[in-house]
């Protein structure tokens, strides 16, 4: 069982998450894609921790989770606020910084 498989899986998940960020218009689905990317990174850290035989990778993955949780909190609050004013959750609506 090649331990690289876990890393390859992490790469695939990351790519799919990135694709989701680029393609979907609903802000919440974009956010979920970002969560997917973070999870992929976590997986990579855990696999690396096992390969090297130290627990540092897991510690980092733990911290990533904490930060991701905090980020979700604030991000969703922002989305709710925007939704209240604009009545729409499409991120394409926020295009006032165009040329």
């Amino acid at each position: 069982m090649n331990p690289n498989n876990y890393l390859v899986l992490a790469g695939i998940l990351f790519t799919i998450g990135a694709f989701g960020v680029l393609v979907r218009r609903n802000a919440i689905i974009v956010f979920m894609s970002v969560e997917m990317m973070l999870n992929a990174a976590n997986l990579a850290f855990a696999a690396a921790s096992r390969i090297t035989g130290t627990l540092d990778g897991q510690v980092v993955a733990f911290f990533v989770m904490v930060v991701a949780a905090a980020e979700v909190v604030v991000g969703l609050a922002i989305i709710v606020t925007i939704f209240r004013t604009r009545r729409s959750a499409s991120i394409d609506e926020a295009n006032l910084l165009k040329y």
Partner: protein, 238 residues
């Protein structure tokens, strides 16, 4: 063909399917469910990687708390809302596919180009520390104490931020109970209205209840279906 590889391949395929489901679903709620599915599979993978604490935290925090948050917000935004999958920005989908493929191929090539590493494994570590949790605790409260303190500050800030953002300013003073009751008395409708279905004669939402004298009670209809009593019953589309 040992147990680890079997579990790995199954969960890997499931998590990829979940991720793809996230990306291609029309309804937002479906996407959320696919994500939860993928995360549970990842938790299984963490178990395989000798990280039991991480796996549990994944299920409890991520799937449990974070995804529930998502679902709550979805309910606020509109559960039924479905996105059209037509791309409005020109060339965005093509660029996304190209870049995504390029990135994926690069990562995979980068990873597989190296020889497969020897796995040292975490068994000794865990024993050395007296267990996975103890080992993690050693590290978190030891070497990574500063990061721990910083993330706790971060969490507090996040909570404050959420409170500030979600706060709704109250422009008028809150009506006291005595004011409310006075309003009710003045309006003529003192008692609360009957709950939905109390005076119902049929299952249909647009069939009004009958008053004691036999006339239809417009107040029993949902607002959208109320009509002018003189014109007969007709649907008012909102």
């Amino acid at each position: 063909m040992n147990g680890e590889s079997v579990v790995f391949w199954v969960t890997a395929i499931f998590s990829v399917v979940g991720a793809l489901g996230l990306v291609v679903s029309r309804k937002a709620v479906h996407s959320a469910l696919w994500v939860a599915f993928a995360m549970v599979n990842l938790a299984i993978l963490y178990f395989m990687l000798e990280a039991p604490f991480l796996a549990t935290t994944q299920i409890v925090v991520y799937t449990g708390a974070v995804m529930m948050l998502f679902l709550f917000v979805l309910m606020i935004v509109g559960v039924d809302s479905s996105d059209s999958l037509i791309e409005t920005i020109k060339g965005q989908r093509a660029i996304a596919i190209v870049l995504g493929l390029a990135f994926g191929v690069l990562i995979i090539v980068g990873i597989t180009a190296t020889a497969s590493p020897t796995v040292i494994g975490l068994v000794n570590e865990n024993i050395g520390y007296g267990g996975n949790v103890q080992g993690l605790a050693h590290l978190i409260f030891g070497r990574y104490l500063l990061a721990f303190e910083a993330t706790s500050a971060l969490l507090i800030t996040a909570v404050l931020g959420a409170m500030v953002l979600a706060h709704r300013e109250r422009w008028a003073p809150r009506k006291t109970q005595s004011e409310l009751s006075r309003e009710r008395t003045r309006s003529g409708q003192v008692t609360p209205l009957p709950n939905p279905g109390v005076l119902a004669r049929s299952n249909s939402v647009d069939t009004p209840a009958l008053l004691p004298d036999g006339t239809p009670a417009q107040a029993s209809l949902p607002t959208q279906f109320q009509s002018n009593p003189d014109d007969g019953v007709k649907e008012v589309t909102s």
